[in-house]
Subunit: 198 residues, 2 copies
Amino acid sequence: MARKQQEKSKQTKEELMRSAGDLFGQKGFMATTVAEITAHAGYSKGSFYRHWVSKDKLFMEIIENKLKEYRSSRDERLDKAGSLEEVMHIIWDFLEIIVRDENWAKVFLEFTVYASRIPELRNDLSLSQYRLSEKVFAELVRDFVETGYPPEKLGAFNTVLFEGYMVQSALGTGIVDLKDIREAALTVALANGLKKVQ
Amino acid sequence: MARKQQEKSKQTKEELMRSAGDLFGQKGFMATTVAEITAHAGYSKGSFYRHWVSKDKLFMEIIENKLKEYRSSRDERLDKAGSLEEVMHIIWDFLEIIVRDENWAKVFLEFTVYASRIPELRNDLSLSQYRLSEKVFAELVRDFVETGYPPEKLGAFNTVLFEGYMVQSALGTGIVDLKDIREAALTVALANGLKKVQ
DNA sequence: CGACTAAATGACCGATGGTCATTTAGTGAC
DNA sequence: GTCACTAAATGACCATCGGTCATTTAGTCG
């Protein structure tokens, strides 16, 4: 039934993904070599390309996995949210998880910038929703905006704050902390999105 | 007097810098090859390394030149500034110049992220002041802050906004415009830095 | 002109992402 | 058990990159 072979292949793929995950986190995307990934998992270089067509695609698959679980738990909470403020807190709890993992926040940024030069990859990335795109954000927030303020703009502004913080965090000049950013985001959201703010 | 040789060497260097500047702006830092830079200027690859020890150092020199003139005009205006609001406007006029040149804003970001993995380069970059670091910013703002609010934090928050916008701009998802960002920066600065805000 | 030096060249190096013919090892019919 | 078949794994190989360096070309000056 060829069961054993399939399982072995699957296992190999998982081992390679773990190895790659470790190395990307430590050294970054560019600096991690395909040969290192396979060697670290105990395979030869050629094995890699039986599972992915490129280093890029492997990375895409890793981040997809990495964020899938977070998203689901976020979306569960969002279903129960009753106000703009609640939604904002859920969203920033979610973002906080990403930022807290400093190594990966840095790698995300590295890959995003890298991908922005490669049309196909850039497209994949925007489809993958790994970035909190302004569109996604706008949908999350739309139902709770009482004023005429465009939810897209609210989303985009949050993304700016978030990614700006990612850059700061990646460069290691940590003067603002996430709490400050979160507060600023909340203030702006409530001021623009609600009719009455006390 | 060897005058002619020196001038030729200087001219060659300038030609290479122009060539590099064009190509970096079009294709980015990584995607631009040393061989391309020299070929585009009509020289051979080896010539490059008579003028710079690496592609990195050439880039450093280009951005240094690119920003020197901007900084001087900014600093002139800052000498005459009389309020926090004025300082903020001058700073954001300065940042606007950077962001307006979309190609270069993108390359700056690319290089910053790239350099963050290379300790020596990262150090050079922070010394070069090409980034509006929170320290530089704090100095500009310090004299006008009336409250106990730390100028460093004000600076850092501005940098977050600015670099977040750079990322958005680099990825080409332009929903927030610079005016929104500038307004937000001003609001936060005045709210935290002044005792009375009308 | 001849000795010296600076500018320019391009073959070369090691490392990288990616390819592919070859080897190794399960699988299933008989 | 054995044979044909197929999937997994290998590593030599390729083009390209940043960077090096011995060699060539061409000003400089006594």
